[in-house]
């Protein structure tokens, strides 16, 4: 897709060589198998299946387990998908700090402390045609269920220089990924509210193929957006946020409190 290809780092048998200060400085990298190595992937997948069982039925949860989270839109009623977003965010937000701390310990960090948002952002992007049939149910779920326009995170609620850890729980492919626009890194952008003003060149975005458990690291200062889901698969992702120095508030109300973590 883009000429600039992201750095793919660390298969399950290779050491990870990624420094978070490079990420803060614009590097985009996927750490392959990161959640699996930490034993977190299975925990999240089991919790999601349990939540599906509670919100719909054990039979449906069993079917999702069999066919994969990418088939959520075929198997789980849309209202349950909406509730799943909320339920998983509630369940995993208290675990965000320990999960990100574990994750960070596998990477290089510039100091012996980190600041981690105590929130898990759950993102279940169904194929666009399915979403269109149920659109009112997902109104306001920008970036969670509905494609978000290009933006930088501090424009609405996040700390300046936040690093996103964007973790694939199900498979992510070109056609249902996140888009990052490296060509406009640190470039001044005109805004329309909390997103990029229309008509500005953004360059060619980068999208990502990720297996369950892979984690994409990128700075929230990168302009980024959601890719419209033109595939037949639901994209199921959980994201976390951190800073490598004391957080400095962006604009608007902060969505989450940042906790200092000693490494």
């Amino acid at each position: 897709m883009a000429e600039l290809t992201p750095a793919y780092l660390g298969s399950s048998t290779q050491p990870v060589d990624l420094s978070l200060d490079e990420v803060e400085d614009g590097r985009i990298a996927v750490v392959q198998g990161a959640l699996e190595r930490l034993g977190v992937l299975e925990e999240i997948r089991c919790a999601a299946l349990e939540a599906i069982s509670v919100l719909s039925s054990a039979t449906i949860a069993q079917a999702v387990q069999e066919h994969g989270f990418e088939r959520i839109h075929d198997l789980v009623p849309p209202a349950a998908v909406r509730d799943l977003l909320r339920l998983l965010a509630l369940a995993f937000s208290p675990l965000a700090v320990p999960i990100v701390s574990l994750l960070a310990k596998t990477l290089r960090t510039p100091s012996d402390e980190l600041f981690v948002a105590q929130q898990a952002w759950v993102r279940i992007m169904m194929p666009e045609d399915i979403l269109a049939l149920n659109r009112p149910m997902f109104d306001g779920q920008l970036g969670h269920a509905v494609a978000h326009n290009p933006h930088r995170d501090p424009w609405f609620s996040q700390s300046i220089d936040t690093i996103n850890a964007w973790a694939a729980i199900g498979p992510v492919s070109h056609g249902n990924s996140v888009l990052v626009y490296p060509d406009v890194w640190r470039q001044p952008m005109e805004r329309a509210g909390q997103t990029v003003a229309p008509g500005q060149p953004l360059g060619v975005p980068v999208s990502f193929e990720m297996a369950p458990g892979d984690v994409l690291f990128f700075s929230g200062e990168h302009v980024h957006s959601s890719e419209i889901n033109v595939t037949t698969k639901t994209r199921f992702v959980m994201s976390f946020r951190l800073t490598i120095r004391p957080p400095r508030p962006g604009e608007g109300r902060s969505e989450a409190e940042f906790h200092r973590v000693a490494l």
Binding site: E128, Q200, L202, V204, E227, I228, V230
Partner: protein
């Protein structure tokens, strides 16, 4: 209104606006004219990019066939395309609708 478009400064794999509502792109298959407004979220396709035979909206990466305007979602309208009349090697003409 008739628009005359000189494409001598339109390299392959580029898109350029030619009016407030229309842009042109040159792909490996030729020169195409289409509406600037993306049928998904209304982003300006003149800031999109060419990917192989497709034109893509930069905002959410929706791909289009610039010859037909087709895109992959049944729930979205196809992109409006405008036939180009070739007047010379790098000179085209189109009728811009009065809307």
């Amino acid at each position: 209104m008739t628009l005359r478009i000189d494409t001598s400064a339109l390299p392959v794999d580029t898109i350029r606006p030619v009016s407030p509502t229309i842009c042109v792109a040159r792909t490996c298959e030729g020169v195409f004219a289409f509406a600037r407004s993306c049928p998904h979220a209304g982003a300006d396709l003149s800031t999109g990019y060419v990917h192989g035979r497709q034109v893509r909206c930069a905002w959410h990466n929706l791909p289009f066939d610039p010859a037909t305007g087709r895109q992959p979602c049944r729930s979205l309208a196809d992109l409006r395309v405008f036939p180009l009349k070739q007047l010379g090697p790098e000179l085209f003409e189109l009728e811009e609708p009065n809307e």
